[in-house]
Symmetry: C2
Subunit: 148 residues, 2 copies
């Protein structure tokens, strides 16, 4: 992992800002950033409702934006920060991108990739539970409002 | 499944046309179509090289195009035809889209979703092996040329 003056918490707070944009737009509040050498090179939040497209998860949009930024589809030395455990689709995308570090916030026992085994790149380091309470609270608040 | 005067072979030949476009553009030759009520509503081929984006698999592009066409992110009554067994990412995308029928051509023992278990929608019907020889031949020819 490249050295950075910032901690994982710092970047996860940036992902949380993205998640709050999603919340404000009545999207399931999940946000993501991609970091290379300490710099955020992509930011995105879930837009499945606005785009009417199930593939428009925060992670997918962030990976595409990061690849566009680099002009390279491989994000080997990047870290993905995402507020919620990625789903199968997004985990598969990080594997194709050869992403070596995935940091997430809240667990997602039902739709998270982990219950299906190891779907990330074989060399990927996984850091779960960063700012998990804040990331999870935002999700719970969203669904509590939806149920009203 | 909606009735159609055409067989699965017919739609797979349309997916194969897409795969050949990919081949001609030096992309891994995988093509896909999405069918609703016997009508093809989306066609796509793998564009990961051109777009420098690992998420630009034929299936992903076809699912997004189909959702755009319908103005609905759920493709419940659609069938996806794809020339090669989908990967984990694409299988996950079909599950989110609630796609109930997936027809594919050649097996993909290394990168296919099946070795990771059941990743499609729980109610999805899977029809493997449709025009498997033609679909697989195109892949083998592509990689044989690459190795030269």
């Amino acid at each position: 992992m490249p050295l950075s003056i910032y901690s994982d918490d710092h970047y996860m707070r940036e992902a949380l800002k993205q998640a709050r944009y999603a919340f404000d737009e009545e999207e399931i509040p999940i946000g993501a950033v991609v970091v290379l050498d300490g710099q955020i090179i992509a930011r995105a939040y879930n837009q499945t409702e606005k785009l009417r497209d199930v593939t428009a998860h925060a992670e997918m949009l962030a990976l595409t934006a990061a690849a566009n930024h680099l002009g390279n589809k491989y994000l080997t030395d990047c870290t993905l920060y995402v507020t919620v455990e990625p789903c199968v689709m997004c985990a598969g995308a990080t594997a194709w991108a050869q992403l070596r570090r995935v940091v997430y916030g809240a667990e997602e026992p039902k739709f998270g990739y982990r219950r299906h085994g190891q779907l990330l790149h074989p060399k990927a380091e996984v850091v779960p539970g960063v700012l998990a309470d804040e990331c999870g609270s935002l999700m719970r608040e969203f669904f509590a409002r939806k149920r009203k």
